[in-house]
Amino acid sequence: MKQLIMLLLLAPLIGHSQIKQTKLISKMDGTFLSEDGIYTPYWGFGEFDPTISNQRITLPSPLLIYDLHDSVYLKLHNLSPEMHTIHLHGLDVTQLNDGVPSTSFGLLFNDSAVYKFKAKHPGTYLYHCHVQTNLHAAMGMTGMIVIRNFPDTNLLYADGPSFNKEYYYLSSDMYLYWNFNVTSPGPFHLYEADYFMVNGKAGTQLFDDTTQIIKMSAGDTALLHIANVGYNSVEYIFPPEANAVTHMSDGRILPNPIDNDTLVLYPGERYSVLLSPTQFIQGHITVNSANLYNTGTIVGTNYIGINIDSLGQGMQDNKLAYLNLYPNPTSNSLQIQSNETLDIRIYNVQGKLFETFKIQPGINSLDVSKFTKGIYIIGANGFLPTKFIVE
């Protein structure tokens, strides 16, 4: 009786604990439409859908959200001809649930198993296949896991700062040669990322996707879950007016928050960033991808749109404008009209920096006759990235 009373007294302190079940499938038959319009093979995980017979995977793999103290049962059914696993990156699971074939287990065709873990720390995590990781992760078998601070899901962590909006950005890269030559990808140390994504989207696919844009009003605070599962490092450059402060990394509270407009994530790292803008912004977060073998040279850039509607004035109060370009589409020359001297950057559809040059006030002519036909993005500091087409 005494023990029962003690248990009842302690019960509120033990905390909420729910069993959360997720069912995923793994397959190797995905195709995604790249930004330059090419159907590209990929591998991945998908949420099991009992209503369909032909299960589908997604790029990136599904975002999995759980609450602090949840007991998670993550079932994987492998529907592909090769072995796969789920490595719960950063969740500090037991050896059996770690997803490394040599120390836990792997799933062959039509095998299924349940990975179990307890959600002990709020924060941002990853999951990916750990079979031939360098190939399977590069082919797309990667996703994000978020643990919310339950029951106060509006707080970053217990007694931590609050937020009222939440966004998720998973950076990744691909070496498309591997996607199209997956049976003979060549020496693995020669991987050279040439397609750069945030949430599986590149270039204008990302920038034009309204579901990816951060939308806030004055007084809002947005939590950004940011992770990098690519081979390259990525650099997030926030507009200074967004007042970006980084509070957590790898599911742990930083000793001191970092008040910095630039955040670099190396492969496998995750960060929790709060944006608390105090003024109108219509612009973008720049996401630069840099390779690690060439002294950090930036090889690709993506943009995440950010719209902050200040003082209830609405989005028509733009301060940033598009560059004045014509004709667009073009085949021979592109005229760029400017009132000031600008450093111009041109990226290809993969987000790879293609050309840089300076323009003077007035009308500047860019010879594009030798450009490969396709879509390009032109950018300059203080202007929104603009798409132009070479026919």
Binding site: G90, Q95, V100, N134, P187, F188, S233, Y266, G268, R270
Partner: protein, 283 residues
């Protein structure tokens, strides 16, 4: 009797707090080694004049003086450099011997190396761990090599890493996985709730983002990328020239990999290979 005991303890503790001189000897050796079918030239600081792949880690207590005698068996001069500790007057001529005294005022990891191109680019670089003598200690020395470049450096044809640099061989203590998992210096073993110290230097030219499976660690000392001091992480960058110390206190038993998460580095000689090692934690 109680007072006598206290006096004795005070006496003993005053003896133990005396700064001591710790003497060590290192030989600078060169050789060529076949690493996963790649011929790599190495230059190492070894315990004897017989070439060994792994640079010998040095250990000393805080406030002790480390007296190191360097015997250079190479045909070229070298230096014995520890940034901010010994940076000048530290050359050792070919086939020469020199002795240096080093004093460290803070616990942590320092990197010693030969600050000539054919020294540092061929891997003549190692760990010095100051303090933590009561902890279980391990050492990781990260390095990568490219066959053609290694050959050119060894022959004196170049003294620089090119901007476009894609090495084939990635190693910990100049060993590639699975050999790393048989290396008593680097294969981390311990028990639940142990306080385990891992001393890490990056002797290569790559940023090496390391990922711990199973556990978070605390970065308790870092010399170059100081922003991450005292961060609790499972994945963090180890930049070129870095010397850092992590504390691991395992909360559960298990055998887990630890590896570079730039996945070009984990396929030396085939996957899994290269910059991977393991933790083996017993109950």
């Amino acid at each position: 009797m109680r007072n006598l005991t206290i006096l004795a303890l005070l006496f003993l503790s005053s003896i133990s707090s005396f700064a001591a001189i710790v003497r060590d000897t290192l030989y600078i050796n060169r050789d060529t080694v076949n690493q996963a079918a790649n011929l790599i030239h190495y230059c190492s600081f070894n315990q004897t004049e017989t070439f060994e792949l792994t640079n010998k880690p040095l250990e000393v207590n805080e406030n002790d003086t480390l007296q190191v005698t360097i015997i250079n068996t190479d045909s070229l001069l070298h230096t014995f450099t520890v940034n901010s500790i010994i940076e000048t007057g530290n050359t050792i001529g070919s086939l020469d011997t020199a002795t240096f005294q080093l004093e460290f005022s803070n616990n942590g990891t320092y990197r010693y190396y030969s600050d000539v191109s054919y020294g540092k680019l061929l891997g003549a670089s190692g760990n010095i761990l100051v303090g933590y003598s009561n902890y279980t200690r391990f050492f990781w020395n990260l390095f990568e090599a490219k066959v053609s470049l290694s050959d050119s450096i060894a022959k004196g044809l170049t003294s620089q890493i090119p901007n476009y640099y894609k090495p084939e061989v990635f190693s910990i203590n100049n060993l590639i996985y699975p050999n790393t998992a048989a290396d008593p210096l680097g294969f981390v073993t311990g028990a639940v709730n142990d306080s385990i110290i891992i001393s890490v230097v990056n002797s290569g030219q790559f940023v090496d983002p390391f990922h711990f499976h199973g556990y978070h660690v605390t970065i308790i000392d870092v010399k170059v990328h100081t922003q991450i001091l005292n961060w609790e992480k499972d994945t963090f960058p180890i930049v070129p020239g870095e010397a850092l110390t992590v504390l691991l206190v395992p909360d559960k038993p298990g055998m887990y990999p630890v590896h570079n998460h730039n996945l070009t580095t984990v396929a030396t000689g085939g996957y899994p290979g290269g910059m991977i090692t393991r933790l083996n934690i017993t109950p």
